[in-house]
Symmetry: C2
Subunit: 445 residues, 2 copies
């Protein structure tokens, strides 16, 4: 197709509806027209570079344009780009499933592929629901979820989202599940510290689960970091208590590690690091190191066996591009990079650098928080009060970042950093120093 | 990662949960281990070849391993594999959006990207719902859909699915929408022929829409071919009546052309061919000619403008890999191939060959039906009665196909053919002759 004789940004304005964007904002600050990318940097056509400090929506692990990932993709391309995955299988998917099972905790035995985080969650919800029906427990049809939880935006995933901004306008078509007050460490109602508490805030969840165990199929949670809620972080003891409750009450535990797996917290999987055994583990984002859409839902042989046997018991769910060989090939190379040469150990000095550089935010009102390679600063007024949303403090910090070569995208007034894992200690310092400058520029305005 | 020292098929059996598969079947007939693919053929490791007569779940248009599509992908890979699509844009997405708008009917002005057919539908449902709320019409929250309709399997898409096999086990978490009896030309209750009727069967839809127009946000439909229902085909006059009713009653018309667009029916879009103006057009599958997951939801400037202005009005829906540049680059080359050198005209002799070769099925009980490059034979007992599902006639035909180098995947007892568009007339004859042999082998057993 020959493009229209108009500039690309004009054509963008006329034709493209961008996700999660108020297009009126693009009248004054058009979207950044990115031409190429390399390592942790994005480049526009004028050659200006921007540090991709949120790893292109938390997906990129090893930087853009990585020679080994590029090579894995082109090698697979020579064989085939894609083939359907019912009645057919292929080595890239088999290798990937095998690796995921071996790297994840004992008890996650089977891998079901789909295309994105939302579908990984939909698959877990549907498998759990059907499992209980195959077992004759037809009343188990609800899911508990955290206020503040986010698991994707297809309507099934949205029905277990605890954030009004995502769900409110679609409330009338969402299934009725069970929202539960979760941890809120920055504003802990018990007056405790996340480093030393015993997850006293588990109380409402304990009550919700025991009061509703007969109708609850499962509970879904983002382990350790509630991403879309503003990188809210809470301690693993909450998850240990959750596991204990779920096991004793017969409730499936669905871990949504879409944002946190594959090195973000310093380990491959949060569940593995803390010896937890979820019934379902949802993965996506970093699985291809930010190259291609792919997702996986892992579960146990116990769940799988409930679907085995009579023709009618099968799990009917499919996407045309399930287990896309190109994406699987890149994912296999990503797992190689993550597990070779003690790669995860090389993150330790970077994690320490984030902590050290984060201290400069002490002079501002708010909280700098960090788990592994994920960090955030929640900017507030005195007494932890939020700025008026009309002020759009976070949006103005984003604009200041653009001027200084940082591509950030604050969640409300939470400025967060999820850089590619290959970021250097020097780049970490630049990233946090520049972000600090941006905050000061906005606050002093 | 070093693979385990076990054969690939054993590892597949132990680790992989395939979509829409009763795994017990794989005990006797393991999934076909495909190593590479070229043109319309899949090859296993022994070098056996299988004709991909359903184009890998209806996605492949120009054959596997196409030099120009491969080249488009590798050229884009040199620049960047991916970058996020909020606050950022890139030429592959701009070109694709621009081309889709220019090639589709007037009135489809904006393109929203997602990853698969299900999400394209979820986006349309959510946009429609929010549109009515932004306009103050808060009671418009339901969707009419056809019994027999299929629009994907995430829970929102599933809530407008009219096929029990997909929805029954998940019924309790599906929103309550409005199922309507649709066309059933093979068993027409009015005793008419689809070639000459006036869509008398539109009556129940007309009544459903007019009785519920105050609460209906929209109606969703697969134009001309209800794919998952068994390639049920109906005439365009039904759609013309639907458009007239929707326009007069103020109901959005959502066209799910995921399976039928991009040449399958002989034209680029069904809506364009029949001068129809849907409010939303959902596209996926063939958009990348079977290379990579990608989807698009097109809509009007009128819909878009209801989300324009105040910060809170924006459409909040995103997937990490929205508008993946690699997938967009392949899609752009796909559109070039579709529109160059009068490609669609070259389909006409193939469509005629399908019709001619389809005559051989006249000797069997059932209906051979065809629209453009999509054809199917519905195998029945006398009096159009279905075989018992216990007999699994379709599954046995699939097994016979494997022996003869055809990869089919009948829907129940409907054996269908959606080959890559590059199939030759000679290959069409082989495909239908071999399928006929398979049917006879099963029926005579």
């Amino acid at each position: 197709m020959i493009p229209e004789n108009k500039s690309d940004l004009v054509r963008d304005l006329h034709r493209v509806w961008h996700p999660c964007s108020q297009h009126k904002d693009y009248e004054t600050t058009p979207p950044l027209l990115v031409e190429r990318a390399k390592g942790i940097y994005l480049f526009d056509r004028q050659g200006n570079r921007y540090m991709d400090v949120i790893a292109s929506w938390w997906v990129n692990l090893f930087g853009h344009n990585h020679p080994r990932l590029n090579s894995a993709l082109t090698q697979q391309l020579k064989k085939m780009a894609h083939v359907m995955f019912a009645g057919i299988t292929h080595q890239p998917a088999i290798d990937l499933a095998d690796s995921l099972v071996r790297l994840s905790p004992v008890g996650l035995d089977k891998v079901f592929f789909s295309d994105n985080g939302s579908t990984a969650v939909e698959v877990a919800l549907k498998m759990s629901l059907q499992y209980w029906q195959e077992k004759g427990e037809n009343q188990k049809i609800r899911y508990a979820y955290l206020k503040g939880g986010y698991h994707g935006e297809t309507l099934g995933a949205l029905s277990v989202c605890g954030l009004d901004i995502f769900r409110k306008k679609f409330e009338k078509v969402l299934a009725d599940h069970l929202p539960v007050q979760g941890p809120d460490c920055f504003r802990c109602p018990y007056g405790l510290q996340r480093e030393t508490c015993n997850a006293e805030c588990f109380e409402p969840m304990e009550k919700a689960l025991s009061d509703n165990s007969d109708t609850l199929a499962g509970v879904i949670i983002e382990p350790l970091v509630q991403g879309a809620a503003g990188m809210k972080m809470y301690p693993p003891v909450y998850l240990i208590k959750l596991q204990s409750a779920c096991e004793s009450l017969g409730i499936h535990m669905i871990f949504d590690e879409i944002a946190v797996a594959f090195g973000r917290t310093g380990s491959l999987f949060v569940c593995g690091e803390h010896d937890l055994r979820p019934t379902f583990l949802c993965l996506s984002k970093g699985i291809t190191s930010g190259y291609l859409p792919l997702a996986a839902t892992l579960t146990s042989d116990e769940i799988y066996s409930a679907f085995y046997g009579k023709h009618q018991k099968l799990f009917i769910h499919s996407h045309s591009y399930s287990a896309n060989p190109l994406a699987c090939a890149v994912a296999n190379e990503t797992l190689s990079l993550l597990t070779e040469n003690q790669f995860l150990n090389t993150l330790q000095p970077k994690i320490a650098a984030l902590k050290e550089c984060g201290k400069q935010f002490d002079g501002l009102n708010g909280e700098f928080r960090q788990i592994g390679m994920i960090s955030a600063f929640e900017l507030v007024k005195k007494n932890k009060e939020c700025f008026s949303s009309e002020k759009r403090v976070g949006y103005h910090i984003f604009l200041e970042g653009l001027k200084r070569g940082l591509f950030m995208r604050p969640l409300g007034d939470v400025v967060y950093f999820i850089p590619p894992l290959i970021i250097t200690e020097a780049e970490i310092a630049t990233m946090l120093n520049t972000a600090h400058e941006c905050m000061n520029a906005v606050l002093n305005h």
